[in-house]
């Protein structure tokens, strides 16, 4: 089905199911329980999961397949966002023109930056992309303030032209009248599920993005990219010019980033310059490696993992800690609160840093490897000494890099 073999079709269907059921799956605890703090099924975070999932899937097409480590993908994210907000300002709050244009403009941007940066490889390539992105960020934050509105972030003002704006048009982002912000809430005996239009829009695009990436991974083009990663020199000796292939991969991943940036602005009509900062570029690198570079699902898992930490752990304050441990005697309660305190709330960075280290030390293949180990554990219990299935996602063997 869909031009995929049976295994991949099943895989895709699982992804589709998981994506569509996210509002339910991420809300495992009833609202009244003290664990509701860990529920992540609210629109903004779910949208972020889908959008950063797209961003990471796109990044993985470049990094996972060709091994080129770009440190400047945030520039495309920012360009996408600015494009969409400018379309709001000029035309109307309909997100379609902006999204289409954000893909086109980020593709052009990626073509230029990629064409220059891909003249070098390895760390030289990384620094070139980093330099372009940091230049974009610094300029957007300061000198380009008339275009980007600088630190405040680009937003829509009432005196903007908005030429296509009708009298009854919604005053927030929408797709032909389907307002992104709106949602339906279902209260099921203590559980509250929020089905948000914006999330489902992102989810559908994310599924499409995933499908395209799946096709790229399985295509001869994808094979070619992998060959570049394995040994570019040998490719060149066979008389094949690898540059057009890497450039194509770079532009495709730039388009994914532009689309993700556009979607950010489509869910929330404001584009901040920080989106282009090196930390944002670094974040997508971390998401991809953390989840498992070169695997299909890994980057999405990594994106979800980081965004979850950022949004959930940072909100746990001392008051909440006390309410968790309230059932214990006072002395133990205070002791536990002091113990957990440095890792949550303002200390959420610390938790993130420790988790990064733990994952990369114990799971060299990222989170995906963790899941594979768990499922292997179950499988080997069921079928003793059965033939182990080969890694369905073409998990790349990490090539040893010895100091030269």
């Amino acid at each position: 089905m869909f031009g995929l073999n049976a295994k991949d079709t099943r895989f895709l269907l699982i992804v589709v199911f998981l994506t569509l059921a996210t509002p339910i799956l991420l809300q495992p605890f009833p609202e009244s329980s003290s664990l509701a703090q860990f529920n992540a099924g609210y629109p903004d975070l779910m949208q972020k999961f889908a959008i950063f999932g797209i961003f990471a899937i796109g990044f993985n097409i470049l990094f996972g397949l060709t091994g080129y480590l770009s440190f400047g993908h945030a520039a495309f994210l920012g360009v996408g966002s600015y494009t969409v907000v400018w379309m709001y300002k000029l035309l109307s709050y309909n997100i379609l023109p902006g999204l289409v244009l954000s893909i086109i403009i980020s593709a052009l941007f990626a073509l230029v930056i990629g064409f220059i940066s891909l003249r070098r490889s390895g760390i030289y390539f990384s620094i070139l992309t980093l330099a372009f992105a940091q230049m974009s960020y610094n300029l957007a934050y300061s000198v380009l303030t008339p275009i980007t509105n600088g630190e405040t972030g680009l937003q829509v003002y009432t005196n903007d032209p908005q030429v296509l704006m009708g009298a009854n048009s919604p005053t927030s982002p929408h797709l032909f009248g389907l307002v992104m912000r709106e949602s339906v809430q279902v209260d099921m005996g203590g559980w509250l599920f929020t089905f948000n239009i914006g999330y489902y829009f992102c989810a559908i695009i994310a599924i499409l993005a995933f499908y395209i990436s799946l096709r790229i991974f399985r295509s001869p083009f994808g094979m070619m990219l992998r060959a570049i990663k394995t040994n570019q020199t040998r490719m060149n000796y066979t008389g094949l010019n690898s540059r057009p292939y890497t450039l194509a991969a770079f532009v495709i991943s730039g388009m994914y980033a532009g689309l993700a940036g556009g979607l950010l602005a489509a869910m929330d009509p404001l584009a901040g310059a920080e989106r282009m900062q090196w930390t944002a570029s670094g974040e997508v690198v971390l998401m991809t490696i953390l989840g498992g570079a070169g695997t299909l699902m890994g980057p999405v898992l990594g994106a979800g993992f980081i965004k979850y930490c950022e949004n959930i752990f940072s909100k746990i304050n001392d008051g909440i800690l006390h309410s968790w441990f309230a059932f214990l005697p006072d002395g133990i309660e205070n002791f536990l609160v002091t113990l957990v305190h440095p890792f949550v709330g303002k200390g959420w960075h610390l938790t993130l840093g420790i988790l990064f280290m733990l994952v990369v030390i114990f799971l060299p293949g990222g989170l995906v490897e963790g899941f594979q180990r768990i499922s292997r554990l179950f499988r080997s219990k069921r079928v003793k000494d059965g033939p182990r299935r080969k890694d369905p996602e073409h998990h790349p063997k990490s090539a040893p890099h010895v100091a030269e």
């Binding site: 990094f63 091994g67 480590l69 220059i116 003249r119 070098r120 490889s121 390895g122 760390i123 030289y124 620094i127 070139l128 980093l130 330099a131 372009f132 940091q134 230049m135 610094n138 300029l139 300061s142 000198v143 090196w278 930390t279 670094g282 690198v285 971390l286 490696i289 953390l290 570079a293 440095p342 200390g347 960075h349 610390l350 993130l352 840093g353 420790i354 988790l355 990064f356 280290m357 994952v359 990369v360 030390i361 060299p364 990490s398 090539a399 040893p400 890099h401 010895v402 100091a403 030269e404």
Partner: protein, 343 residues
Amino acid sequence: MEAIILQILNGLDKGSAYALIALGLTLIFGTLGVVNFAHGALFMIGAFCAVVMQRLLGLSYEQVDPTKTDFLGNPLKVQVPYVESWFGPEIGGAIVDWSVPLAIVLAIPVMVILGFVMERGLIKHFYKRPHADQILVTFGLAIVLQEVIKYFFGANPIQSGAPAALSGSFDFGAMLGFDPNVVIYPFWRLVYFLFSLVIIAGVFAFLQFTTFGMVVRAGMADRETVGLLGIDIDRRFTIMFGLAAAVAGLAGVMYTPILAPNYHMGMDFLVLSFVVVVVGGMGSLPGAVAAGFLLGILQSFASMNEVKSIIPGIDQVIIYLVAIVILLTRPRGLMGRKGVMED
């Protein structure tokens, strides 16, 4: 003319910091082949060694002064440093005043030990892993280190000044025959520049003139062969990691009077130092030093009003612009060797 001399001095000063950080980073790249994202954090820890020294020297007991009151109206508790009560206010005060240079004594063992522990405990296991994994684990470590510092010292910058004798400025121009009061420069910045030259010279001399250095250089060129010769190169690499950490730490200690240390200063320097290293050329120590000073001076010139009025914002992008131009004209930076980190 005066303006240009001053900007060259500014550039050399900025360049000293860039060069020292890049030097340490290159030692790690070159010897161990590890992309160390925690190097900025090492610089930051060095700076906080100065803060700790200041605190240690300032350790004090409370003395209630009934003549004054604090903000709640209670009698004021005056903090009297122990050193002042031991050595008398004059000598004690002088010791506290010189806390930044004295912190070097603290920073060297702390940084070397930290370097050893990092290398033996963590980095060692990542030699054979892809660079991406090295980035992730050292970045995680950098976050942990800076969060620990934030936990103990807070997020605000902490002032730790230069000794009073060196905190003034020096009429540089009068010596060179300019009008007085035109080309003046703070003493401490000159001290920092000289200090960095000494450290750089020391590292080069160590690698050039000692047997240990010779082996390490051989190891940088061809690790396997040196290993086959029966030399325990691993132990030497550990020591090199300690040395690199110490260089970063010392750069941080002496920089505190110029830049009040805060917990995220390492991240601010991280990206920049990578750009410096790559512009200098991977694995080349002279390249890293040269690129540090070059970028420092160019950045200073780009900050001049005359230049900014022609190209607004040039001071914010000059480093990246130079990096792009150099990498496009010289494929491996200024002095990089073929094949290092190009895969």
